[in-house]
Point group: C2
């Protein structure tokens, strides 16, 4: 790969100037999403939705390969059910939408639009479960949920979003813990192998865990602006809900007991992560494995004899296993098309014109490195297939380098504050484990403890924030 092309962008605010505006420009100009008439609710347009479909298709297969099946539970949950688990209702009640009328009648009991489905699912599990022979319960649901958010941003935080929520029951605590970690690992592999997003995995602090969980595990990614994104969570719910909902089974020992419980979810938020990890000032840079269009063919001098024919021939030859399109619109010049499809983040552009045909070659431009070079027509399918893989791993490595550059150690609280201002990113530090200390970090800096990573580093025996005895090494950052 050789010649670099000159950057040219219209109408996208550079990310160095105003990162939130850059994000808004990108999602709007690439036609991924739009604001709806209901505040905080988004419309996911075809170019955004197709990414979600690719994520779904990959994850659904992973879930099924690990023995999970899909179900569908009701959208509406009676208030009395939501209230059964004390911490859970405290966490979610302030942000649910309430249905009070059905048709022309006032309901005897309010129903909330599901913010998550633990309660309704547990009420059914308590009806179904009989014996240890029925376990494990390994179920998942793809649906939308509603959480009444005050301040929203498409994909990252919206009052409605699409997600999957897994809900499993197990005979023993060990099995539940193993499931919780298995699903977190599948999330991590999805992030890295599908989305080319490197993630840190670990446990949430007590303060940051899911409402009603015994322990929440998370994967955290770092965005271009140095803010963290919680990209997926997996909860070991212990027996909190199974006791509250009186879910019991006849154990091997002949006694009735409560099963152990997990839940885990990722959402359309991942799309926001893709944009903010890989995007640049030209627009989107899509990881090849989820890109709705992996290859765009742009005919040059398309009115000349043979050009369009050759372009369609190429599409046919490549199209069986590769998501490929031709832009043969007559109203726009090739230059305009180059910009348009670069903005849309298509991983590979193939240019083909009369001279290329003569030379039995095409020009290939890769979006991740902005490099362009001539490639022989012969063996093109192999070249493109391999290049898509190369682009994936290059993007993953680039994102990892970028994250590592923005990850640093701190001396003490003052040093942390200074570095967060100068160079936002992941701070690695020791922490005492106290909630008061954690709350002070947030109050004074806006940053939160993102996770207690599985890969602990020994950075001393004192909490870097309060000086007390340290319990864990943690990642701290401002977050979406």
């Amino acid at each position: 790969m050789a010649k670099k092309e000159k950057a040219f962008v219209k109408d996208i605010t550079p990310m160095e100037v105003d990162f939130p505006q850059w994000y808004t420009d990108v999602i709007k100009k690439t036609d991924m999403v739009d604001y709806s008439p209901v505040k905080g609710f988004m419309v996911i347009k075809p170019y955004g939705y197709a990414i979600w479909e690719n994520i779904q298709s990959y994850m659904d297969k992973r879930f099924k390969d690990t023995g999970h099946k899909n179900m569908y539970f009701p959208l509406l949950i009676p208030e009395s059910l939501l209230k059964k688990e004390a911490e859970h209702v405290e966490g979610f009640a302030p942000e649910v939408a309430w249905v009070t009328h059905g048709g022309n009648e006032k309901l005897a009991e309010r129903l909330c639009v599901r913010p998550t489905s633990e309660t309704i699912i547990c009420s059914m599990y308590s009806k179904w479960l009989n014996s240890y022979r029925d376990l494990p319960y390994l179920y998942n649901q793809w649906c939308s949920v509603v959480r009444w958010e005050k301040s929203t941003r498409p994909f990252l935080r919206t009052s409605e979003f699409l997600w999957q929520e897994g809900h499993t029951l197990h005979e023993t605590e060990e099995e539940a813990q193993a499931e919780t970690i298995q699903m977190l690992n599948i999330y991590k592999e999805t992030a890295e192998e599908l989305l080319a997003i490197p993630v840190i995995t670990g446990r949430k602090s007590e303060k940051e865990k899911f409402a009603g969980a015994q322990a929440t595990y998370t994967m955290e990614a770092l965005m271009h602006d140095g803010k963290a994104l919680q990209a997926g969570t997996s909860h070991n719910l212990g027996q909190h809900f199974t006791k509250a909902f009186d879910i019991t089974f006849l154990g091997r020992n002949g006694e009735m007991q409560h099963p152990y419980h997990t839940s885990w979810g990722v959402s359309t938020r991942l799309i926001g992560g893709i944009i903010m990890v890989h995007g640049d000032n030209r627009g989107l840079v899509l990881p090849p494995r989820v890109a709705p269009t992996q290859v765009i063919i742009i005919p040059i001098a398309q009115h000349k004899e043979g050009v369009l024919d050759k372009a369609y021939e190429l599409k046919k030859a490549l199209g069986e296993d590769i998501r490929i399109e031709i832009d043969d619109s007559e109203n726009n010049s090739p230059g305009w098309k180059f910009n348009e499809w670069e903005m849309k983040g298509v991983p590979i552009r193939i240019e083909i014109g009369p001279r290329d045909i003569e030379n039995n070659q095409v020009m290939i431009f890769r979006r991740d490195t902005l490099e362009k070079q001539a490639v022989p027509m012969e063996g093109l399918k192999e070249t493109v297939t391999k290049l898509l893989d190369d682009i994936h791993y290059n993007m993953l490595e680039k994102a990892r380098r970028y994250r590592d550059e923005k990850t640093y150690y701190v001396e003490n609280f003052e040093d942390f504050k200074k570095k967060q201002e100068e160079k936002p990113g992941f701070a690695k530090a020791m922490w005492c484990g106290d909630r008061a200390c954690e709350e002070r970090i947030k109050a004074e800096t806006g940053a939160t403890i993102r996770c207690i990573p599985f890969e602990q580093e020994d950075l001393g025996n004192k909490c870097h924030f309060c000086g007390k005895e340290a319990k864990h090494m943690v990642y701290v950052a401002r977050a979406y």
Copy 2:
């Protein structure tokens, strides 16, 4: 195929005794669905949901092959939007669920949970559409909708159901009409080629059309009890909504104009249709192309050496393109398993025991005809693949014969009433086209005009119900 097996069923009410109870027994005992804590809302369990996934996967491909893309629009619709198209709000307002509070705050405007999405989608289309060059708009959405029903039955009529809704815009009336019919034809092919359900297609009367449509087209199937099921509809919406929502585009003639509009949908109701068209007194009979499990292998004397190994070897050999499972549970006898999987409607059962292995054969039982015969191990994959196809077409033909037997001509209104009592089914008759006559039919018999079929038969020039001049030949039946 030879020897017929003796029928043996426990706990399923025979359909001749009580058809609604038969239906309820079947869906409960086969674990397809359960009632939720919210009246009228169902939980779709894995065995039911897997059928929906197979329907989705087939239809989604058909939609995409005809140029449609998926989007996602908000779940909640402001009351003011719902009210913009007069007939539409009149039709839907009485059956919507209203969200009045978000978090702890009362909303300034009530939001309804979408009963269908024409209004919110049109509000977005009016923002997006500019020029004839943008047309056609070919979009679809997979989601759940809520309609507050007084009397419900799982799959057939529930307050929440899963569906797809297509929403398209076109430059001309002809194109919109062509789209409406194209999608109805895809529905018909889905019914026949995927679900083995024969359907009558035609137009709905003015009284029965969708609230806000110019014309509604439908496919109608006949259930075992002689009642009709509206299994999918496709609406030509003309300019009703595009005018109400002020959707305009710059036409080829340089003038602003309103596009033509269609919408079309099928739902989880199709699963109810599968049950009631194909089921028998042993339980489900699933069409092979949507059956979650197409082949169940039951080892005989599974503790004997080599039996389980051979069963797993078979599964592996067949499993790549066939949805296949082994029931090797130790707690149940082969006889119990036979009954269980027959009840669950699995199209093919393979029995394999020591004697079969010795003879290099397996026993194959087909659910549709209840026939069993020995089949050589050699070439088993081809045998099974072909048999699955045979079963599909046999089920389709059987359902067609059954429907035709329950389809009849009538002499006059009295004759119609008599025949509807004696032999419920599709009555073919001439109709005057008057709403008053249609309402009288419904008031006196509970039957409705299901459709004005595309395939008109000339049955005279007098309305069979009121004696006035006839306009159309129609199908009349009681319906779900």
